[in-house]
């Protein structure tokens, strides 16, 4: 398993070189997204107020302190469960050119196929370890759609975000799904062993 240090925005070549299990550290702007703002984009058909070509998106809704108009200091920025936002993968890759989705818990088989097709990756952040992640922030540069607080779109500049684990690569690999499928097979054996056919 290799280690990579990448800068955003990401190119197709940047992400195509990654394989599941690799470790990645990111510098540059990462956009915080989640349920509320993605629903607005895809269900309410409001285009995102910022260019996402080559972008890395992080599934998050941070704890912040307001220090001025549209200016916030981070208190605790962590990662939320990605699977809730699984149905937005296609739109993000196809319509907006996103290259990396960062989150926890993995995405579906369908998302992995789309990432292979469009050239994108899923980078697994260690869920619950937000204190670490928060210290890797240089600044919250700006925030869009403050009316959705805390589910705004957050433009956050990181220095050394990670190490992140490649959960889905651009070659069809899906680590979390593989682990879960193996666990399901194992469960069938375990139930037999426990006398439950």
């Amino acid at each position: 398993m290799a280690e990579f240090h990448l800068h955003t925005p990401l190119s197709e070549a940047d992400v195509r070189q990654l394989r599941v299990g690799d470790s990645v550290t990111l510098d540059g702007v990462v956009f915080g997204v989640r349920d509320g703002n993605l629903i607005r984009i895809f269900d309410n058909k409001v285009p995102p107020p910022v260019n996402w070509q080559g972008a890395a998106l992080l599934h998050t809704a941070p704890n912040v302190k307001k220090i001025g108009p549209a200016k916030y200091e981070p208190i605790c920025v962590g990662t939320t469960t990605s699977m809730r936002m699984d149905r937005f993968t296609e739109g993000l890759l196809k319509d907006y050119g996103v290259r990396a989705i960062l989150g926890k818990g993995g995405l579906s088989e369908q998302s992995a196929k789309l990432m292979q097709q469009y050239g994108a990756v899923y980078l697994s952040v260690t869920g619950g370890a937000a204190a670490m992640e928060t210290l890797q922030i240089e600044a919250i540069e700006t925030v869009y759609w403050e009316d959705l607080m805390p589910e705004c779109i957050w433009q956050i500049r990181f220095k050394g975000l990670g190490p992140l684990t490649v959960g889905i690569d651009a070659h069809g690999g899906n680590l979390q799904l593989d682990v879960q499928q193996q666990a399901q097979q194992k469960t069938a054996e375990l139930l037999k062993k426990m006398g439950i056919a």
């Binding site: 941070p62 670490m132 979390q176």
Partner: protein
């Protein structure tokens, strides 16, 4: 007895029982009190400190401030039993990815403690388990208000992210409160003058992994085992494993899920006092950890830190089972308040 109840309506059968002759030898004041109250008005009865459990006015402010502090502290200091279990699990992992994840857990725990930082960004659904000592005399509605205010103050004063919205409009009041939130469970403890408040900020990654099924008696304990195992595997990476797997068995559907949630608040290392349930806890834990889901569902030896079961009796036709998962941080914080102003903080 009827005379005393007439004069002091806040006396219950319980507190009367507490002052039985058996207590006389160790509680001289009680003896005098009983002698006096038999012929004196209730107001004088109140002046005796030993049985006077009517909480002072400042008690409600203390509850409010304590709840504020419990919320904030719970997000920063992971309970010692959980830290020990994470350390132990970290040593047990062999793959690079699993070791990496556990090292992130341990670093974040340290940052919480050393730098006074929130360990996770999820401020959760605020849940309080309140146990009222049977000897306390207090205004329950004011305790309820104090808890709500404490929750709002934590959110405003720290500040914390308000994670609470209206279910349909998705309106967020930015207070971590709303209709029927925080969730407050009340219980009572005999022979106690303590108000015990256990707080948990229940994160949604694990709370979304809640499952319940009304099994039938013919499904037996085998049906329970299958259900628990299949749900934990189905949840996979989503609840931030390794989890504490809370299991409720019996009761009605609502009680069953409440028991599963309550079970997650038990300290690690505690077994259910019923040997049959304790054995079931061990059997399920071993099976779950053989599935290999591991930390963050990226593969590894520890998928659960514990299986905790709580049970209740049920209807002859019922065999309910509920699973409620708690993420690896298993945040909880406890306060024990007494009417004399003392507050003990723990887990």
């Amino acid at each position: 007895m009827t005379v005393i109840f007439g004069m002091a309506p806040y006396l219950t059968e319980d507190s009367w029982a507490w002052a039985t002759p058996a207590a006389y030898s160790t509680r001289g004041r009680v003896t005098r009190l009983l002698t006096k109250t038999a012929c004196q008005p209730a107001r004088q009865y109140l002046s005796f400190p030993c049985l006077n459990m009517e909480v002072p006015e400042q008690f409600y402010t203390q509850v409010e401030e304590t709840c504020r502090d419990l919320y904030i502290q719970s997000l920063k200091e992971i309970p010692p039993d959980v830290v020990a279990a994470i350390r132990c699990a970290a040593k047990n992992e062999t793959t690079e990815v699993a070791r990496r994840i556990f090292s992130h857990y341990l670093q974040s725990i340290e940052l919480g403690r050393e730098k006074n930082m929130m360990v996770c960004q999820d401020t959760g659904i605020p849940i309080y388990w309140v146990e009222i000592g049977g000897r306390l005399r207090l205004d329950g509605s004011r305790i309820n208000q104090a808890i709500i205010k404490g929750t709002e103050r934590a959110t405003r004063e720290h500040p914390l992210r308000s994670s609470i919205v209206s279910p349909l409009s998705r309106e967020n009041r930015q207070t971590s409160t709303g209709h029927r939130i925080p969730i407050i469970h009340y219980d009572f403890a005999a022979d106690s003058d303590v108000l015990d408040i256990l707080f948990m900020p229940k994160g949604s990654g694990s709370e979304n992994m809640s499952f319940m099924k009304m099994l039938v008696p013919a499904d037996g304990v085998k049906g329970i085992k299958r259900f628990v195992l299949e749900q934990v595997v189905g949840a996979g990476a989503k609840p931030c494993p390794p989890t504490i797997v809370g299991v409720g068995i019996g009761g009605s559907s609502d009680l069953c899920m409440t028991l599963a949630k309550k079970a997650t608040t038990r300290p690690l290392g505690s077994a259910n006092p019923d040997p049959q349930l304790a054995a079931l806890e061990t059997e399920l834990l071993n099976a779950i950890n053989e599935t290999g889901i591991g930390p963050q569902g990226l593969g590894g030896r520890t998928t659960a830190l514990a299986v905790h079961i709580e049970s209740a009796w049920t209807h002859i036709t019922c065999n309910p089972v509920a699973v409620n998962l708690q993420c690896w941080r298993a945040e909880r914080r406890r306060a024990r308040l007494r009417p004399n102003g003392s507050i003990e903080i723990g887990f």
